[in-house]
Amino acid sequence: MSRVVVAPVSELPPGTRTTVRVGGRAIAVFNVNGHLYAIRNVCPHQGAPLAEGVIVGELTSSGPGDYEFDDCRPHIKCPWHGWEYDLSTGQSTYDPTNDRVRTYEASVESGSEILAGCALEDGQGGCRLPGPYRVETIVVSVEDDYVVLDV
């Protein structure tokens, strides 16, 4: 597993999203009400960029006329056909066991922690700092918090 710095937290406020390329993979990172979610930015149906989709709450039902809405469990609707995926698990709503999108762990860490982690892992090949940002960028803003992706 390697770790990638996506952006300073200040650049990904609640309600926004960004994309990052790690190796060959396009990953979409969302901040939904302060919670971070990261998924492969490719719809398993026809490859649409999921980062461009609408975020909706979870909707379940115990029977006709019953709508149980959970705003704390965001789903992404594919921008092309409206198919839905749970941002937490990547599971589709139409076939949760077989059709899903890959998810990643996203978290917030301080610049100094990241630097410390880098120093520890440096030379072992496990550390991929600074991702899209250059190490120098982190060094100059070591006081800030960053969105970090485990991939």
């Binding site: 379940t60 039902s61 006709p64 019953d66 056909h81 409206g82 198919w83 839905e84 139409y94």
Partner: protein, 384 residues
């Protein structure tokens, strides 16, 4: 041993409206005797009554002809008597006619031929009365389903029909939707087209609308035991409708979150289709492909649609032995109440009846349909 076969769609008809008079209450008998108000016919372009695939002549459809042409090689046959009861706007006359039709069916057909079963006429326009009638006929095990016409002002998944569907499911009575309907509602989604040909060919669109309405309504979550029989409407349209519903459901599931499985799963579980007339493709390999596309041989039920006649098709010959048994018998026996065991109990009770001159005072648990019917029609006497 001859092949077991349930003919799931056989027509009978009253020779005239007057036939029903003696099955009405005194009041309606008198008033109908004076006014002679039969069903209001459906608004049709030009119904070709002469055509063998459509004609149902009550005078020619005798029990004897049924024995010769249907029961000669069918173990059981399920009667459809389409009387247009949905056309009566009167909230008491319509239900009274429906009850009369069912009593006529019981006395003229079921009482005289133990191999017959019947579809019960009910009034979808008067749901409360329909529920009462379902409760009444449910006591007679020879009524095995409830009959609704395809033409309707709204889809049968609509909540207004739920009490009717609930009553049917409560008594394990499938609801059969069949061609026609005198509701004044149009035969196609674009109202009336030019010719009868268009009207007849487009009838499948009405069935598709009911099917979607029922699946999306969520009624199958409420009533997992409910079964719907689509009679006389072919099935070649089914795969494309299932594909389309399954695809669009992924995007619009949010509107109907209770539809938690792909719509086609509900179709395969809750719907059954009679195989006459068959509107399948002409080539055998295409017909096999159609069955494969439907994805289940459990949805097909054998029917002759007697006396209506169609060009022959090779469906039954194309099926494997197991599939053939399912289509001819098992699929129907699985959804219609009491069929296999009742066959055995009938043979028993025939012997019992011959030995017993007087009917038993207490209702035994293996009461035959005939005795139940007598009890049921006794109840009917007090109905207005």
């Amino acid at each position: 041993m001859p092949e077991r076969k349930i003919d799931c769609d056989v027509h009978c008809a009253t020779a005239s409206h007057e036939v029903l008079l003696s099955y009405l209450s005194d009041h309606w008998r008198e008033l109908q005797g004076i006014t002679r108000t039969p069903q209001a016919g459906a608004i049709v372009t030009s119904y070709p009554r002469w055509l063998p695939m459509l004609a149902t002549d009550g005078a020619e459809l005798t029990l004897q002809s049924l024995r010769e042409r249907v029961l000669a090689d069918a173990t059981l046959a399920i009667l459809y008597c389409y009387q247009g009861v949905e056309s009566y706007t009167h909230p008491y006359l319509g239900p009274a006619i429906a009850t009369a039709v069912n009593r006529w069916l019981a006395e003229e057909w079921l009482d005289r031929e133990p191999r017959l079963r019947a579809s019960a006429a009910v009034t979808p326009q008067h749901v409360g009365a329909a529920v009462e009638e379902i409760e009444r006929i449910a006591e007679d095990e020879r009524f095995v389903q409830v009959l609704l016409p395809a033409r309707s002002a709204t889809g049968y998944g609509n909540q207004r029909f739920w009490p009717l569907l609930e009553a049917a499911a409560r008594h394990r009575l499938p609801v059969a939707i069949t061609y026609g309907g005198g509701t004044g509602s149009p035969p196609t989604p674009v109202n009336w087209l030019g010719s009868f040909f268009e009207e007849y060919a487009a009838a499948t669109l009405t069935f598709q609308s009911h099917l979607m309405s029922l699946v999306m309504s969520g009624i199958f979550q409420r009533l997992p035991e409910l079964r719907i029989v689509i009679a006389e409407s072919g099935l070649s349209w089914l795969p494309s409708l299932m594909w389309r519903m399954d695809q669009e459901w992924r995007a619009f599931q949010r509107e109907v979150p209770w539809v938690s499985e792909p719509p086609s799963a509900y179709v395969r579980r809750h719907f059954r289709f009679t195989i006459a007339p068959l509107d399948g493709p002409p080539a055998d390999d295409q017909l096999c492909a159609l069955i494969e596309q439907i994805g289940s041989d459990e949805v097909l039920m054998y029917a002759s649609d007697h006396p209506h006649r169609y060009p022959p098709n090779s469906l039954l010959e194309l099926l494997s032995a197991e599939q053939r048994t399912r289509v001819l018998y098992d699929n129907a026996a699985a959804i219609y109440r009491g069929l296999p065991s009742e066959l055995a109990s009938q043979q028993r009770s025939t012997a019992t009846r011959a030995a017993d001159a007087a009917p038993p005072e207490h209702v035994p648990s293996d009461l035959t349909g005939r005795q139940r019917s007598t009890a049921a029609s006794g109840d009917a006497q007090v109905r207005p």
